[in-house]
């Protein structure tokens, strides 16, 4: 985005600030944080509180980043919910049941995610099935395969695996007994995605594709390859979280992971991504994820009824969509007045 205003010669401008797509998400985050900090007190504002919501944010955030990119490009991915247990079962069965090296299990788990993403991408680009339906289909298919294969191979629906200290240290440890190491992985993912979306040319391609797929293709953007790549990225993110959960909790379950489907979409929407594609930002998605996590954990520190948390998240979601529209309209008007 160009920060050069035509009239004001440089310097700080409220108009520029409001025009930034993240502004709404930032305000939302600050309001929510202050609200829970005032109720949760010192414990919530200290290291235990920060690590508590950052641990939640990191896991959902690693998935929300690629899911957000997909939504910017105009696609949904609901299959992440069953890729998480599929990859954690794969890793636990390879490394725990067959006692192969941890690296084999990790590569196996990640490959499952990449493969499911590849299939999703193929279905969406080669057929006219909307991604919402295609990924619901792959979600159920993967869920069934995970269950069937787990029972076939292990005869049970949960597999225990105790990772070696290095693997555990890299993927499933709590730094200072509190901060899950996945927080740092999340930061790493944010850096990579920020570069791809806002620095490298590929980012503009994603936005263009979400704005108008036909025009994007006519402009020479390899839309099919890009779509398949994005689905593979979200499969990879979900598989990564699945593996991190095995290393952390030392057991893989066939169930679980379904909550990540809507949670990741909510993070993305609270973060200001336009549901119909074409608009959004990485910083916005990160802020949306943090807001979501603060509400989720703040509830327990504030000693409120947990059901109120769900109400707040629901209200936040609606407010986010409404305010994003308002900010977008504001930005449009602002730009026109300048001319």
């Amino acid at each position: 985005m160009s920060t050069q205003s035509s009239s004001d010669a440089g310097g700080f401008s409220i108009g520029d600030l409001i025009r930034r797509p993240e502004t709404g998400s930032l305000i939302g985050f600050i309001v929510v944080y202050v609200f829970f900090a005032s109720l949760g007190g010192a414990v919530f504002m200290g290291a235990p509180g920060w690590s508590s919501w950052l641990n939640i944010a990191a896991e959902v955030g690693i998935i929300a980043l690629p899911v957000g990119l997909l939504m910017i490009s105009g696609e949904f991915d609901l299959s992440v919910g069953s890729i998480i247990p599929a990859s954690s079962m794969t890793a636990a069965i390879l490394s725990g049941h067959y006692e192969l090296p941890a690296l084999v299990g990790i590569i196996g788990g990640l490959s499952v995610g990449l493969f499911v993403g590849f299939i999703n991408g193929l279905i969406v680009t080669r057929t006219t099935i909307p991604s919402l339906i295609a990924t619901i289909g792959s979600m159920f298919a993967v869920m069934g395969l995970t269950l069937g294969l787990a029972v076939l191979i292990k005869g049970s629906t949960s597999v225990s695996y105790v990772p070696d200290p290095v693997t555990k240290g890299l993927l499933g440890t709590f730094i200072n007994g509190m901060f899950n190491v996945s927080i740092f992985w999340w930061i790493g993912f944010v850096a990579v995605y920020y570069f791809l979306v806002h620095v490298a040319p590929i980012g503009n391609w994603v936005f263009a594709m979400g704005g108008d797929r036909e025009s994007a293709r006519n402009a020479g953007i390899p839309t099919d390859k890009l779509t398949i790549g994005l689905f593979m990225a979200s499969g990879f993110g979900a598989a990564f979280v699945g593996i991190a959960q095995v290393m952390t909790y030392q057991a893989a379950q066939v169930a679980g992971g379904q909550s990540f489907i809507f949670n990741s979409i909510m993070c993305v929407v609270i973060g200001g991504v336009l549901l119909t594609g074409g608009a959004g930002s990485i910083i916005g998605i990160v802020l949306g994820t943090m807001t979501f996590a603060v509400v989720n954990q703040g509830i327990f520190f504030a000693a409120l009824d947990p059901n109120i948390g769900s109400i707040i998240i629901g209200a936040l979601l609606l407010t986010a969509v409404l305010s994003n529209d308002t900010f977008r309209a504001l930005a449009m008007n602002y730009a026109t007045k300048k001319k």
């Binding site: 414990v43 509180g49 508590s52 919501w53 949960s158 909790y249 057991a251 992971g257």
Partner: protein, 324 residues
């Protein structure tokens, strides 16, 4: 209507049914249960299927009906019961998870003259009220009570039940029983209610437990309602820096829970012996439909059994032998 007249009516109905069924000699038994990928329910299912081997040898069958998820448990399960009736079940096994939603469907089973066994949840009260033949299972309140009593006797004063599935009758009973058990041993109990979205997400459960422990330093005992939740609860305790101070007991067990009991990071596990629930409920109905034989003992208890450091080795042997 008194219990005796209900039982008498039930006996008349079953006698009439036996005469009709006398020529059938093949029991198509429908079992309503949890998600087949739920670790606990997969054991119940295995028990039901193992009993089904006998049913199959006699020309019958066992069909498992489970919901896709637990988001709408009561109505979904009621729908499954009606499906079983529509598919021509000769006998039905079902848990009374959410009585308000499910009882009308169970009443339809009894009205259709189909023998019914309530298992896993509801207790003998539900079986009597609905006119079912028997109840097979652990009594939830007793399971919770056993955990509360165990922790209370271990010197714990303030226990919290981690409820990840608020609204389900059996989970509420676990938590109530837990509070009563720890109160009987001189402590006090409370419930930590999680939003329904946390169910099945280990990180969400662990972080909720941790936040609760940090905000309520008096809590020195926790009770988890399932095996995955127990692992997450143990992690939450460790992240709160309270390992060794806060003891945890949980419903059900798996390999890592047995390892945790061995290493001391978990105090006890309450075993409902799910395999027995599926096995006996199906066996009772199969024998009844085929031969009219009954089990006069009402309320077949399959639990609670307490697993702690004193007997964990035996249980591990049982797991290896495929029995538990």
């Amino acid at each position: 209507m008194s219990i005796t007249t209900r039982v008498a009516r039930g006996l008349l109905a079953t006698a009439a049914f036996t005469m009709v069924a006398g020529t059938a000699m093949a029991a198509d038994i429908f079992v309503i249960g949890g998600k087949p990928d739920d670790p606990f329910w997969s054991r119940v299912k295995k028990g039901a299927e193992d009993a089904g081997i006998v049913a199959q040898a006699q020309g019958g069958s066992v069909t498992w009906l489970g919901p896709q998820n637990y988001d709408n448990l009561g109505p979904d399960a009621a729908e499954l019961i009606r499906q079983a009736i529509d598919q021509g079940a000769d006998a039905i096994v079902g848990p009374d998870w959410v009585p308000e939603a499910m009882d009308p469907a169970f009443e339809a089973v009894v009205d259709a003259g189909i023998p019914l066994v309530i298992y896993n949840a509801g207790g003998l009260d539900a079986a009597d009220k609905l006119g079912a033949m028997n109840y097979v299972g652990a009594v939830d309140a007793k399971s919770g009570y056993a955990a509360g009593e165990y922790l209370g006797k271990a010197g714990k004063k303030n226990g919290a039940c981690v409820n990840t599935l608020p609204g389900a009758a059996n989970i509420e009973a676990f938590c109530t029983g837990f509070s009563e058990g720890i109160a009987a041993a001189g402590g006090e109990g409370s419930t930590l209610q999680l939003p329904a979205t946390a169910f099945g997400d280990a990180t969400a459960v662990a972080q909720a437990v941790r936040a609760h422990l940090l905000q309520n330093p008096d809590v020195d005992a926790l009770f988890a309602i399932g095996d995955a939740d127990t692992n997450a609860t143990v992690s939450g305790i460790q992240q709160a820096g309270k390992a060794g101070q806060v003891e945890v007991c949980g419903i059900n067990f798996n390999e890592s829970i047995l390892a945790n009991i061995q290493s001391g990071s978990q105090a006890c596990a309450i075993d409902q012996q799910g395999y027995q629930q599926g096995f006996f409920a199906v066996s009772i109905l199969n024998n009844f439909v085929n031969y009219g034989v009954t089990i006069p003992t009402r309320e077949i208890l399959t639990g609670p059994g307490v697993i702690d450091a004193s007997n964990v080795e035996q249980v591990i042997e049982g797991v290896k032998a495929g029995v538990r």
